[in-house]
């Protein structure tokens, strides 16, 4: 009697396993970043359009910011752009751009055409700094706290929901505790 039930039980167990697998598969393309809670990686890179002006990670520490990794070749960045622009306009947080593996002329043309929401744009032509940030697909965004720690990473486009749920509460916390 019990022998008869074994295949049924095994079948159900396999079914549950596969169902869980399917559920997880939806989120699988998003890789949790090991950098959350850590200091942002060190870098010294030129400002986009001003190759003689260098910016380093030190200079950004003090005021929290959202580092938005973008490129003119990145289609989703264009979709994301109005949201980033709205975020910058709201004054909630400083938005710093990391122009990733781009040609300078293309990047400038892109900004001229769609608008420039960035307080500062850092040019990572080789993509070497992006590797240190664990970037694997633009757009990606990193929320950096006043001490220079990465506290949140968005893979893919920043949406109004992401701003409300992930960014607003954290910024509110920082302004409370001086």
């Amino acid at each position: 009697m019990i022998g008869r039930l074994v295949p049924v039980i095994l079948f159900l167990a396999l079914g549950i396993l596969l169902a869980v697998g399917l559920k997880i598969a939806d989120h699988k393309t998003e890789i949790p970043s090991p950098l959350i809670g850590k200091k942002m990686p060190e870098f010294t890179l030129p400002v986009l359009g001003q190759p003689e002006v260098m910016v380093s990670h030190d200079e950004l520490i003090g005021t929290p910011f959202l580092l938005n990794v973008w490129a003119s070749w990145c289609v989703t960045c264009r979709v994301e752009h109005p949201v980033i622009e709205e975020l910058a306009r709201s004054g909630l947080i400083r938005v710093v751009g990391l122009n990733y593996r781009d040609e300078e002329a293309d990047a400038q043309a892109w900004l001229a055409r769609f608008g420039n929401p960035y307080a500062l744009n850092i040019a990572d032509i080789t993509g070497r700094t992006a590797i240190d940030f664990g970037v694997y697909a633009a757009p990606e965004s990193f929320l950096v706290d006043p001490k220079g720690n990465i506290v949140f990473k968005q893979i893919g486009a920043v949406t109004p929901e992401v701003i409300q749920q992930e960014i607003v509460p954290r910024v509110a916390q920082w302004s409370k505790a001086p």
Binding site: G3, I31, S33, R128, I131, D132, G134
Partner: protein, 139 residues
């Protein structure tokens, strides 16, 4: 299409495959090259997640291959190179994840399934033998 055309097409296809696969890298000795090839086979391309770094033509995969090459040339060992990537991209870059609390099930599952299978086979065979023996006695 004639045989001649077919052969020409095949040759061209093969040449492109070789041309794509070749990174113009110079190694000190064949062992080093082998090490490089093994490493890039074992590491995942994060853009196209079911490919390894060796096979992928994604720009990031090219960057990471170059990074691995530079690190090898700087005398870093495999562990250091893997740690470099894991620190940035997490365990997901490793096609052979480390044995840890959260990967234990992944590592042990094949063994567990083997044991379950062996037990199932054992009981099935024993039951059948008993039935056959019983049949023989009756007959």
């Amino acid at each position: 299409m004639s045989i001649k055309h077919l052969l020409l097409t095949l040759t061209l296809v093969l040449i492109t495959a070789v041309a794509q696969a070749a990174d113009p890298l110079v190694f000190d000795d064949p062992t080093q090259e082998e090490r490089y090839n093994e490493l890039t086979l074992e590491l995942r391309c994060l853009v196209c997640q079911n490919q390894n770094l060796a096979d992928s033509d994604a720009p990031l995969a090219q960057d990471l291959r170059k990074e691995i090459y530079d690190m090898m040339m700087a005398g870093q060992d495999n562990e250091q190179i893997k740690t470099f990537l894991v620190d940035r991209y997490g365990d997901f870059v490793l096609y052979r994840p480390k044995m840890e609390g959260n990967t234990l099930l992944l590592w042990l599952m094949p063994g567990i399934l083997m044991v379950i299978g062996a037990i199932a086979v054992f009981f099935t065979v024993r039951n059948r033998n008993r039935r056959l023996a019983a049949d023989r006695q009756q007959g």
